[in-house]
Symmetry: C2
Subunit: 152 residues, 2 copies
DNA sequence: GCGTTATAGTTACATATGAAACCATTTGCA
DNA sequence: TGCAAATGGTTTCATATGTAACTATAACGC
């Protein structure tokens, strides 16, 4: 497959430029999902991500949530203050370290999670249904390799 | 390959959730590139995208730029007003339709382009160098299929 | 031609986001 | 001990972004 040999300074074809394509695709996908739970629960993407990790790892501190979600601590702090206020997340102070908070989903939070998680999975399933089995396998493999960058 | 059969309401594993992975990867990649030209030319990603399409398609109107970049017209308007001010983009009024603008890169704009385009390509090359030829082929194919969504 | 509707682009406002400063607490160590 | 440095978390400020309203021009229907 002969690669067109464009000089480096030729205009970029955005539609074939990988970083651009990734960005467009990723935004479209994430936005479609977020619109869904945003509309139904007034839940932002960052808030949902916080809830998702707390569903898996109960009792994390805010910093740990930030690590797991790759969000910065300010974003986490803000998300938490809203989530605690709406009563979907509980926040206590760590015994023996008064700086640290101990976070978890409340009953109400779990209820939300029970609705949103399947919704998110459904979107993912939908997306993946465009691919056949072989393509799905390659995709995971490719993402694994590319992702070796980001733990910047 | 036996798929774990988690119930739909089980906690999401973000690190295996495709939309999340895409988002992390895409942000990391785009940000790395943007940091580069941002630092050197104080050029935002949206501004660079505008310049990139004008390099390819001279004489577009603002709306056409918006279509090509998939950005909304407000973002384009803002980017343009900065680019025109810094003198990298020229703006004239369309003969016969005074609403429309006629946009293009200036000499100075081309000079910037000559630096940034190779820089962007280099990042892309770097990213793709993590994949072998077969994986690259699959990636393009997979993106093509997944991208069938987004022309929302 | 002339009023209505559509289009190109900008402005205004409200919200989101990130960086840096900040407060409280804890840790490390002389 | 006790004080400097580090850590968890919040607040502040400056910037970015999206939505809706607005201005100017053009197109359409009669």
């Amino acid at each position: 497959m002969a690669e067109e040999h464009h000089p480096d300074h030729a205009p970029l074809e955005l539609e074939n430029f990988l970083p651009y394509r990734l960005s467009i695709l990723s935004n479209a996908v994430s936005q479609a999902i977020a619109d869904d739970y945003q509309r139904r629960f007034d839940l932002s993407m960052t808030e949902w991500r916080v809830m998702a990790v707390l569903a898996r790892f109960d009792g994390l501190s805010a910093r740990e949530v930030a690590e797991r979600t790759l969000m910065d601590k300010v974003a986490v702090s803000r998300a938490l203050s809203k989530l605690v206020e709406t009563g979907w997340v509980t926040r206590a102070t760590h015994d023996g370290d008064k700086r640290r908070s101990v976070l978890g989903l409340s009953e109400a939070g779990w209820a939300i999670h029970e609705v949103v998680a399947p919704m998110a999975r459904e979107h993912e399933r939908n997306l993946l249904s465009r691919l056949d089995e072989e393509e799905r396998t390659w995709l995971v493999r490719i993402l694994d390799k590319l992702q070796a960058i980001e733990p910047k």
